[in-house]
C-alpha cells in the first residue's frame, strides 16, 4: 500500500492538521520494512497534540476548580505531568491537582500471567468525592487498565464524573466497552505490534513508535 517511508511520513504530516484522520498501518507494509520500529509521532507532533489536549481540557473544565487529574501508573504519569506543566505555564491555570493511581492490586489478570505483577506508588493527596476526575494514560489498548482504575479510584471516594484522556488510542483492540474522551492520535495496530511512547524525562526523547514483535 504505502510503498516507502517517505510517503508514509508525508501522510503522517498531512494528517497533523486533521487530527481525526486515522493512520492505517497494514501488516504487508510492515513486513517490507527492514527496521523493527516505526515513528508514529515525533517530538513536534507530540507537542502539538499535547497543546490540543490541554485546550480541549480547558474547554470542558474551565479553571479546574472542580477537576482533578489522575495519571495511571506507571506510564500515564509522564503524560499527566506534561499536561499539568503545560496548563500551568502556557495557559496560566493555577492549582491543578494531580495524583497518581496504581492499579496493580485491582487488575483482573492476577496469577494468570507468566510474570508476577509489580506495583507502583499511588499518591492521591486530595479528595475525589464529587470531583470531575480525568484519568490520563499514554496508550489505550484493551481497556482493562482503565476498568481496573475505575474500581481503584472508588477507594478514594465517589467522583462526580470520570473522563479518560489518552495520547494514543489503539482503536480496534478493545476488550471492554471503554472509549477515550480526549485522544491525541488514533492508531490501528495489529495485536502483535506494540505502541511505545517515549518521554524525554524518562527515555531521552519525545516520540511514539510502532514496534513489530
Amino acid at each position: 500500500m504505502f510503498a516507502s517511508i517517505s510517503s508514509f511520513s508525508s501522510i503522517l504530516k498531512s494528517s497533523l492538521f486533521k487530527p481525526k484522520k486515522i493512520v492505517l498501518l497494514l501488516p504487508e507494509y510492515n513486513s517490507e520494512l527492514p527496521m523493527s520500529q516505526k515513528v508514529l509521532l515525533n517530538a513536534t507532533e507530540i507537542n502539538i497534540a499535547l497543546n490540543r489536549l490541554a485546550c480541549q481540557l480547558i474547554e470542558k473544565h474551565d479553571d479546574f476548580s472542580r477537576t482533578v487529574l489522575i495519571g495511571i501508573q506507571p506510564r500515564g504519569v509522564f503524560l499527566a505531568e506534561r499536561l499539568k506543566t503545560l496548563l500551568e505555564t502556557e495557559y496560566k491555570i493555577k492549582n491543578i491537582k494531580l495524583g497518581y493511581l496504581d492499579i496493580t492490586f485491582f487488575r483482573d489478570d492476577f496469577r494468570r500471567g507468566e510474570k508476577p505483577l509489580e506495583a507502583n506508588k499511588t499518591n492521591i493527596n486530595f479528595m475525589v468525592e464529587d470531583k470531575n476526575v480525568v484519568f490520563i494514560d499514554d496508550v489505550l489498548f484493551t481497556g482493562r487498565s482503565i476498568r481496573s482504575a475505575l474500581t481503584a479510584v472508588q477507594s478514594f471516594g465517589r467522583p462526580l464524573e470520570i473522563e479518560l484522556l489518552t495520547l494514543i488510542d489503539r482503536r480496534f483492540s478493545r476488550h471492554l466497552p471503554i472509549q477515550p474522551d480526549y485522544r491525541g492520535r488514533q492508531v490501528d495496530a495489529i495485536n502483535g505490534e506494540k505502541v511505545k511512547v517515549c518521554w524525554k524525562e524518562n527515555d531521552g526523547e519525545d516520540a511514539v513508535y510502532l514496534v513489530k514483535s
Partner: protein, 312 residues
C-alpha cells in the same frame, strides 16, 4: 526481582535477603492502601485461606484475618480447642480435610517446632507459619524489621538488642535471622538461664548487663517473659528480673542518646517494660501492630501470586 524464591513462608531462615526486600517494598504499597478511605483491594477474591490456630493467639490471628480480608480473600478460621483435634485427629488429616474444601493457603500456628515445615511436605497448599513453638515466627520478625526501617530509614548497619527470654522465643530467633540477613548487628541480653547454649553459632553476642546493651544499641526489642513456657524456674522472682532486665524511664533517660523501643506484645506492663516507657514517644509498639497488617498483606499477596490460576 519481583517474585519470592519460596512457595511457603515457614521461617526467615528459608528466605533470602532479596525476598525480605521484596516483602518490604510490597508492604509499602499496602501501607498506603490501608490508609485509604476504603482499605480494601480485590486481588485475592478467588483465593481461600484457612487460619489454623492450634495455639492461642489474639493479635496475630486478628492481624492475619484483617490482612486476608483487606485483600478480598475468603477466610475460614479454626481453633484447635473447638475441633476434632481433641478427638485425636492427626495434623495431616485435619489439614487435608480442610484443603478438600478447596483452600489455597494455610496460615498455621502450632505449639510444635517444625509443624509448618512438616505440613508443607505433605499437603498441597501454600503454608504461612504464624508461629511454631520456640522455632520461628517469620511475619513478626518481618514487621519488626520493617518498623525499624520505617523509623530509622534503613536497617543495614543498625544495632539491635533483643532483651529477655531468648530461650523460649520464636520471635527472637526469627528476628536474629531477619536482621542479620538485611545487615543489622544483633546482640541478645537476658539472664544466662534464658540464653540458648549455642547462640554463638548464630554470630550473636551475648550481653548480661542491660545498661551496657542499651548503650551499645540503636533499637531495643523487649521480649515478653513467657511464664507459660517456663517449666522450671529460670530466675528467682519476677521482681528480680524486672530490676535486672526491665526497661524503665530512669535507665532510658540516663542514656546519652535516644533509642527506639519495641515490643512484640502482649506486654506485661511493669515486668519487662514500664508503662511510661511503653507509652513514650520512643516506643513504636503500636506502629509495629499497624505494620503487621501491611507486612502480612504483602506476604499473602506475594505467595498467592505464585499459586497459578487454573481454568477449571
Amino acid at each position: 526481582m519481583s517474585e519470592l524464591s519460596v512457595n511457603h513462608l515457614l521461617g526467615i531462615k528459608y528466605i533470602t535477603e532479596a525476598d525480605i526486600q521484596l516483602i518490604f517494598e510490597t508492604a509499602d504499597h499496602f501501607k498506603e492502601v490501608i490508609n485509604r478511605p476504603i482499605k480494601k483491594v480485590p486481588s485475592l477474591r478467588d483465593i481461600t485461606i484457612a487460619n489454623l490456630f492450634f495455639e492461642n493467639s489474639t493479635r496475630t490471628k486478628l492481624s492475619f484475618e484483617l490482612a486476608e480480608k483487606r485483600l478480598s480473600a475468603d477466610v475460614i478460621n479454626f481453633a484447635s480447642s473447638s475441633s476434632s483435634v481433641t478427638k485425636g485427629e492427626t495434623l495431616i488429616d485435619t489439614v487435608n480435610n480442610i484443603l478438600s474444601m478447596k483452600v489455597d493457603m494455610v496460615v498455621m500456628r502450632h505449639p510444635n517446632p517444625g509443624a509448618g515445615v512438616f505440613l508443607s511436605k505433605h499437603v498441597d497448599a501454600s503454608i504461612i507459619n504464624a508461629g511454631d513453638g520456640a522455632h520461628e515466627h517469620p511475619t513478626q520478625a518481618l514487621l519488626d524489621a520493617y518498623s525499624i526501617r520505617e523509623k530509622l530509614g534503613d536497617v543495614a548497619g543498625k544495632k539491635v538488642v533483643i532483651v529477655g527470654d531468648i530461650l523460649h522465643s520464636r520471635v527472637a530467633l526469627s528476628n536474629i535471622f531477619a536482621l542479620q540477613k538485611i545487615g543489622a548487628k544483633v546482640k541478645v541480653c537476658g539472664p544466662k538461664t534464658l540464653i540458648p547454649k549455642y547462640i554463638d553459632k548464630l554470630n550473636v553476642e551475648v550481653e548480661t548487663n542491660l545498661r551496657n546493651a542499651l548503650e551499645w544499641c540503636d533499637v531495643a526489642n523487649m521480649l515478653r517473659v513467657q511464664n507459660e513456657r517456663m517449666d522450671i524456674s529460670y530466675f528467682p522472682t519476677t521482681r528480680e528480673y524486672t530490676q535486672q532486665f526491665g526497661l524503665n524511664k530512669k535507665i532510658l533517660d540516663s542514656l546519652n542518646k535516644e533509642i527506639v523501643v519495641m515490643h512484640p506484645g502482649p506486654i506485661n506492663r511493669g515486668v519487662e517494660i514500664t508503662s511510661d516507657v511503653a507509652d513514650s514517644k520512643q516506643s513504636i509498639i503500636l506502629e509495629q501492630v499497624q505494620n503487621g497488617v501491611a507486612i502480612r498483606m504483602a506476604v499473602i499477596y506475594l505467595l498467592a501470586s505464585k499459586i497459578k490460576h487454573h481454568e477449571d
